[in-house]
C-alpha cells in the first residue's frame, strides 16, 4: 500500500485536507520519485520515512511568477536521448502507440 502511494498522489487531499506547505507537498513528491529510482526493495521500510530537513535557505523569497532558471537543472537537455524523448509531443514525431 505504502509503495503505491509514492506513484500517485491524491492531490485533492494534499491540497485541501492537509496542512503541509506547498513546498513540502512538492518536496514530498520529488522524494518519492527519487526513492522509486533507487529501487523498490526498500518498500518494507517505507513506513518510516526520513524527512529531509534540508529546508530552503531562509533568504528573501519573492512573490514571483517565473521560477529561476538554473543552467545546471537544464543540463539534461544537452543529452541526445533526452532531446529525443519528447519527440512524440510534436506533430512531426511518430505517434505514441
Amino acid at each position: 500500500m505504502h509503495g503505491r502511494r509514492g506513484k500517485r498522489k491524491d492531490w485533492t487531499k494534499l491540497i485541501y485536507m492537509s496542512s503541509l506547505s506547498p513546498a513540502d507537498i512538492l518536496r514530498d513528491i520529488s522524494n518519492a520519485s527519487a526513492r522509486g529510482e533507487q529501487g523498490m526493495s526498500l518498500d518494507d521500510e517505507d513506513f518510516f520515512t526520513v524527512v529531509s530537513s534540508s529546508g530552503p535557505q531562509e533568504q528573501e523569497e519573492f512573490d514571483q511568477t517565473k521560477e529561476a532558471l538554473r543552467a545546471e537543472d537544464l543540463k539534461v537537455w544537452e543529452d541526445e536521448e533526452m532531446l529525443n524523448s519528447i519527440r512524440s509531443l510534436f506533430i512531426t514525431g511518430e505517434s505514441a502507440e
Binding site: T12, T65, F90, I91, T92
Partner: protein, 365 residues
C-alpha cells in the same frame, strides 16, 4: 455582498498579490499581518505599497489601512472601476508584477481598463511584456475576453533603470465562459521574440541562431522574431532577452524566457530559454505552469457549470492559490490523474463547478 465582520485573515508577505485580487473579486475584506515582522527590514516593500496604490486606483471605494510599522494591512474592497489609469512602477519589480493581478480584475470592471505602466518591461522574476502579449492574453481569450484586448509595448526598459512603457487595454465582460480544455494535442509551432536594447543589435540574431540549434530538430514551423527598438524607445539600460512559446494543435501553450545576465553571452541565454521551453513541454498539460493560477481563477468564476482543464503538476504557487480560492469563494477543485492507465503520465485533470460570477459593476452604457 460584503458583510461587516467578514474579514479573512492571512499571515506573511507570501502570495500577497493573489490574496488581494481574491479579496477584491469576492468582495470580502482581507487582513494580512506578520508581513516580514521578523525581518531586519520589516514591513511592506516599496513595490508592494505601489501595488496597493495601483489597486486603489483601478477600483473605487477600496479602503486600505497599513499599520504604522507596515507589517499589517487591511483591505476593504470597493468596486472594480477600470477606466484610464497611469502608473509608475518602482524599479524594484518589473511591470509584470503589477500587470498579473490587474489582469485578473480588469475583465470585471465597470468600464474598460486602459492602463499605462512605466518601468521595467522584462526581468527574470515576472512575466515579461512579451509573454503577456503572446501567452497571457490568448489564455484570457479562451474565456471569452477578447474583443479589444491588447497589450502594446511602447518602449522597452531593461533593469536596472527601466524606462519602458506598455499600454494594456482590457474589455469588460458580463461573465466568463466555462472552460473545457482536456486535449493537449501536439506541438505544431514555436514562436519567439528576441530583443536587444542598448547593445549591438547583432545580439538578437545571435540568440535566434542559438535557439534554432536546439529547436530546429523538432518542427519546421519555427518563427523567431527579432524585435528592434531604437533610441528613446529602448529604455535606459542595456539588456536582451529571448521569449519563446510553443503552441499545440489544440491551442495548448507553453512558454519560457531567459534574460541577459552580466558576463553571459547571448548564445547561452538563448540555450537557457530553449531548454526551459523543452522542460515546459515535457511537463505536459494544456496550460503553461506560469498561467495555472490565472486559468484556475477564471474557471472558478465561470458560469454555473463544470469547467475542466488538463494541466501538469501544480506549482507551489498554484497549490497555495487553490487553498486561497477555497477560503474566498468556497470552491474546491477535483484533481485526478488525466490518464489513470498510463503510469508515466503525471498530467492531472482539474475540474470545478463555476460560481457563476456576474460582473455587477459593468455599466450598460
Amino acid at each position: 455582498m460584503a458583510q461587516a465582520g467578514n474579514v479573512l485573515h492571512f499571515s506573511g508577505h507570501h502570495y500577497l498579490r493573489n490574496r488581494l485580487v481574491l479579496s477584491i473579486l469576492s468582495g470580502k475584506a482581507v487582513r494580512i499581518d506578520k508581513i516580514r515582522s521578523d525581518d531586519k527590514n520589516p514591513g511592506l516593500r516599496d513595490y508592494e505599497v505601489s501595488l496597493l496604490r495601483l489597486l486603489e486606483r483601478v477600483t473605487n471605494g477600496t479602503v486600505i489601512e497599513i499599520s504604522v510599522t507596515g507589517t499589517a494591512i487591511l483591505l476593504k474592497p470597493g468596486i472594480i472601476a477600470g477606466g484610464s489609469v497611469t502608473h509608475e512602477c518602482p524599479l524594484s519589480r518589473s511591470i509584470g508584477y503589477f500587470l498579473e493581478p490587474v489582469i485578473m480584475l480588469a475583465p470585471f470592471a465597470k468600464k474598460p481598463l486602459h492602463l499605462t505602466l512605466r518601468g521595467i518591461t522584462t526581468d527574470d522574476r515576472d512575466l515579461s511584456a512579451d509573454l503577456f502579449r503572446t501567452v497571457t492574453l490568448p489564455y484570457l481569450q479562451m474565456f471569452g475576453i477578447s474583443e479589444g484586448l491588447e497589450l502594446r509595448i511602447k518602449k522597452r526598459g531593461s533593469p536596472p533603470l527601466g524606462g519602458g512603457e506598455v499600454q494594456f487595454l482590457c474589455p469588460v465582460v458580463k461573465q466568463v465562459k466555462t472552460l473545457n480544455f482536456v486535449e493537449p494535442g501536439r506541438i505544431k509551432r514555436i514562436r519567439g521574440i528576441s530583443h536587444a536594447v542598448r547593445v549591438s543589435p547583432q545580439f538578437s540574431n545571435r540568440m535566434i541562431e542559438a535557439a534554432r540549434s536546439v529547436l530546429n530538430r523538432y518542427i519546421p514551423d519555427i518563427y523567431l522574431y527579432s524585435d528592434v527598438y531604437k533610441g528613446e524607445d529602448s529604455g535606459k539600460s542595456p539588456g536582451y532577452a529571448l521569449s519563446l512559446l510553443a503552441e499545440s494543435s489544440t491551442g495548448a501553450m507553453h512558454c519560457a524566457e531567459a534574460t541577459s545576465q552580466p558576463g553571459v553571452p547571448p548564445e547561452d541565454i538563448a540555450l537557457l530559454a530553449s531548454r526551459a521551453l523543452l522542460e515546459e513541454i515535457r511537463r505536459g498539460g494544456c496550460v503553461d505552469r506560469k498561467h495555472q493560477s490565472l486559468v484556475l481563477l477564471m474557471m472558478v468564476l465561470g458560469s454555473e457549470d463544470v469547467g475542466r482543464c488538463r494541466m501538469g503538476e501544480p506549482t507551489a504557487r498554484t497549490i497555495q492559490f487553490l487553498r486561497d480560492v477555497k477560503d474566498f469563494f468556497g470552491t474546491s477543485f477535483k484533481i485526478f490523474p488525466a490518464d489513470p492507465a498510463d503510469e508515466s503520465s503525471s498530467d492531472l485533470l482539474f475540474s470545478a463547478y463555476g460560481v457563476g460570477y456576474v460582473n455587477a459593476n459593468r455599466s450598460l452604457a
